[in-house]
Symmetry: C2
Subunit: 676 residues, 2 copies
Amino acid sequence: MKDPLVIFTPSGKRGNFPVGTPILTAARQLGVDLDSVCGGRGICSKCQITPAYGEFSKHGVTVRDGALSEWNSVEERYKSKRGLTEGRRLGCQATVQGDVVIDVPPESQVHKQVVRKRAEAREIVMDPATRLYYVEVEEPDMHAPSGDLERLVKALSEQWGLVHVEGDLRTLQMLQPALRKGAWKVTCAVYHGDGLGPARIVQVWPGYYEGTIYGLAVDLGSTTIAGHLCDLQTGAVLASSGLMNPQIRFGEDLMSRVSYSMMNPGGHKEMTRVVRDALNALVSQIAAEARIEPALILEAVFVANPVMHHLLLGIDAVELGQAPFALATSGALTLWARELDLDMHPDARIYILPCIAGHVGADAAAVALSEAPNLSDDLVLIVDVGTNAEILLGNRDKVLACSSPTGPAFEGAQISSGQRAAPGAIERVEIDPESKEPRFRVIGCEIWSDEPGFTEAIGAQGITGICGSGIIEAIAEMRMAGLVDGGGLIGSAAQTGTTRMVEDGRTHSYLLHDGSAKGGPRILVTQGDVRAIQLAKSALYAGARLLMDQLGVDAVDRVVLAGAFGAHISPKHAMVLGMIPDCPVEKVTSAGNAAGTGARIALLNSAARREIEGTVGRIQKVETAVEPRFQEHFVAANHIPHKTAPFDLLRAAVPLPEPSFNTGGEDGGRRRRRRG
Amino acid sequence: MKDPLVIFTPSGKRGNFPVGTPILTAARQLGVDLDSVCGGRGICSKCQITPAYGEFSKHGVTVRDGALSEWNSVEERYKSKRGLTEGRRLGCQATVQGDVVIDVPPESQVHKQVVRKRAEAREIVMDPATRLYYVEVEEPDMHAPSGDLERLVKALSEQWGLVHVEGDLRTLQMLQPALRKGAWKVTCAVYHGDGLGPARIVQVWPGYYEGTIYGLAVDLGSTTIAGHLCDLQTGAVLASSGLMNPQIRFGEDLMSRVSYSMMNPGGHKEMTRVVRDALNALVSQIAAEARIEPALILEAVFVANPVMHHLLLGIDAVELGQAPFALATSGALTLWARELDLDMHPDARIYILPCIAGHVGADAAAVALSEAPNLSDDLVLIVDVGTNAEILLGNRDKVLACSSPTGPAFEGAQISSGQRAAPGAIERVEIDPESKEPRFRVIGCEIWSDEPGFTEAIGAQGITGICGSGIIEAIAEMRMAGLVDGGGLIGSAAQTGTTRMVEDGRTHSYLLHDGSAKGGPRILVTQGDVRAIQLAKSALYAGARLLMDQLGVDAVDRVVLAGAFGAHISPKHAMVLGMIPDCPVEKVTSAGNAAGTGARIALLNSAARREIEGTVGRIQKVETAVEPRFQEHFVAANHIPHKTAPFDLLRAAVPLPEPSFNTGGEDGGRRRRRRG
């Protein structure tokens, strides 16, 4: 008689196995992805499966009662002690008795897909570099002496097929008590490295370790540091936390930090200390939030721009402040936590993504990992908006990258009523094209300013200023309402027919909100604000345009706005301002903090590390700082949306009146002064 | 016409090369061992060679004037600036012009043999793991951005054929200033690892580094710590230094240190700190002696017994105090200096030899490396005499190892007038078989006590006691002079006919020296001293005998006495005492501090590390602590020289009178008491 047929779903893998074969064994032989930490001893319950009964015409099989063995004592004990979902069995205990269909639920798969909040560019499939293994170790024999470590390594090889495993010094220090406390049974966390070097035992727990191991993905930005604490087995994000980069006190932007280092001998060491202290504050904050021991964080991934990358590593970033912007290293790095003085597990492995170029860092590499332009069929432009914008353009044939110095205007700096994106900041703006009256929304309040209950809703917090996304919308709305002309000049009350236009010397401002009656601020969009945004958006556009030149294209198929700030930009308004090239508005999407997502992917999927290392090597770099055409593109992009590019798709979608307020006012006046 | 013939001596390698080929190039192509750090740029002068002219019938070649090119400007400049021995040329500058014989002097060979002070078991051939490489690195190009490290690695690959080289974090921190200061020319110290992992850049100097790099070989003993500072390029020992192991305050012998750790929670951490502090004192002392920066020590090798091995590593040694004496690890270890808090180059690689068993440590492995029993044609017994003796027995077919707890008597402890081997200690003893009068020598004085000028020569230092080698000689001489019988009883004045026998209760002592007239000590050999030495020597003999049983032999071909103490033992006296099995006295040699020599071999020759790792795996371990026959052998060996073993070879060489002093005295008395 033929051996019973075992069919696994969802993989569809099938095979015949002798009666009595445990389901876990069958799964392993077929290469079915079924998890196990205890190696089939009925302890970990990671191999839970659901047998399906009845007729399956699709599979050509009928599963009868009794297709699996009766519950044995191990299974019974497990169920009574810890509970087991109805219909579930332990794959290592239940054995094949007849033809059977076995469903492997997602949580029993090693390479499970991580559940994510939004439709994102790519799925994260679990493939962590650090994994848990339960082993039973031979006891020492004085007649055939060998080290406890050597016997543990042998057990990992024999019971798990792990070859070339080594122990760190700390492993040796903890090993002997753990083995004896666990009566020669221990759970090891093993870091698998890059496949070239040996795997290494990071931690040893007596007996079966029931706890969780954690990983931390960190986006180390110039202004903010954001971290996500993940479960290294399920991939779940357990806590997220952020704090300001305390290096701000050495300079708001990166170049002023480089200058600090140039002017102050040893200054880079101080900045390194400060950023590592901040990372430790983040670790402690996020561990407290998740109520875990920081020592259980066994891996971390860092992404950062080149200057932060170097300062984190204790490398003077002075070379990044001058051509040819040489990186100390462009490659990916794997370090020990203690090499960076980080307060997590001292042997936690820190993976730092590769840098693309002197101005395009590991953060941009993380964006490339998350958004995968190299896998895109259509031509995608990815813009990570920040003080320094990173720009990627490409498809599966070729990917180009550059950075562009947009300055801090998009983050609310250099704006008259500008502020960081925080409660009280105006973040959304609409201006009625007829009445020229504005309405807006404020961070921390869901109600628009012209809706009932708004005043009560904002309450004591009040309206304090305007943040980056708010100023972009305000100026774009002013342009659409005919209050700002293509050259960026704000019209007067007479020219626009609204008393919201306030005279300010030779220029005019638009009064967005007047809180002065209640002691609050008057929030105006000034001519200076428009000029600051024009400079920033011109730099962004010029960078993107330079890459398009390099690729020989005049249009892109889609645009992705990345970065914490990019997530809040309205595509339509960005397009009206001419921040990005013309493109169907529905093809402009936001990727949120793509750099952070990239860090998380690299944390949870070690193959992704090898992937991005390869991708970065193939990305073609363009250095904007020394490219003469960048300057040309920058000047032409000063116009709103653009002096020469037609922006036909945009014009078809939104009204773009073309008044001209240049009557010898601001710009004319300047010209006259120059002449005189 | 045929290309000129180039013959290298002493290798005899030969080949034809086109006119104009640099001698260094010809050497490399033929695989001739010719050193170079600068890669043929005429900077380092490591490739110096001596052309030989005239007729060489042996080689069938005539070398004419003009067989090498004229001196070029590089060679001239080098010679005028730094000098060049008459007849020498720079191999990278001188080119082939006709048939030529080229001698490669020893100092121009990478794998040169280290000059050693005495005929030792094996030569040391240089093959250091850390080497210097001078490279010229491509300058950064912002249009093809890559890290400075990546271009350095490329240069090492292209200019030296090094593949898979990585940089440590510290390399990254020092790299950029070094490259710029050296105008893109740097010298790197590269650690080559075990051939499995990547090579790693440890240090980068701007330009050509003219200095030396150093290695430290350390024998970490229970009582003393000894270090040798070596030049990693020539192998020369530049300084040697030693200090007491400060752990002595936790216990004289190893087991009392293990007990300290058992009785005092955290005690092992204290012992680790203390021994690491002592190692740092040694480093600082030896660096001062050699007038070098400790940061230029780029490698160190440690050998130690298992307890010291574990305590150095920060592992609680408690398991080594009880059966089954499980080591935390038996394998060799490679660590960073900073992992052990050592004040040398922070990335210096520390290599620790493997341990053989729970009682037979890395020090015994080092003895095996130095004395190479596994390569011996005849059967050799190697005894490393100390508080705990390590014993190796074997030949190229098989090697066995055990340890034996001899106790501290051989080091002068537990001896009535015992003291450490230091100035003032009696170290050599002769007793006239007729007159029974002694003469002796004292450490620090070359004159025998019965020679003219002795009193003046010892001067104020005086005669303070008797050291280990002194007590061994004293008792053996007493045995040969008929003052001690085979059972170990000291005879009375009446029995022996000399007034030097002093009554002491029921037993007698032999007065070796009476300094009381000058206020100095009376130095006696007491019955207790003989008993203590009998216990120690029985343990030593029993261990050796156990290994002989295991191998099925009754005699060994030769005996090697190792250990700092072993170097001072007179083979004849050791044999008379029966410390070692019977053997022709001329076949008993001393290897000095073989463990220290083994450490030095592993430091200077990285292939030796792989060799001893393999050898240790094949050594068969015997655990004396639980072997019943050990006890039998121990009892039988109490007799001097032995109760049952004939010691015929010894008896043929020296007089061994057989008096019996047992007349109901000490031993008889004891027996009576038991009966009563």
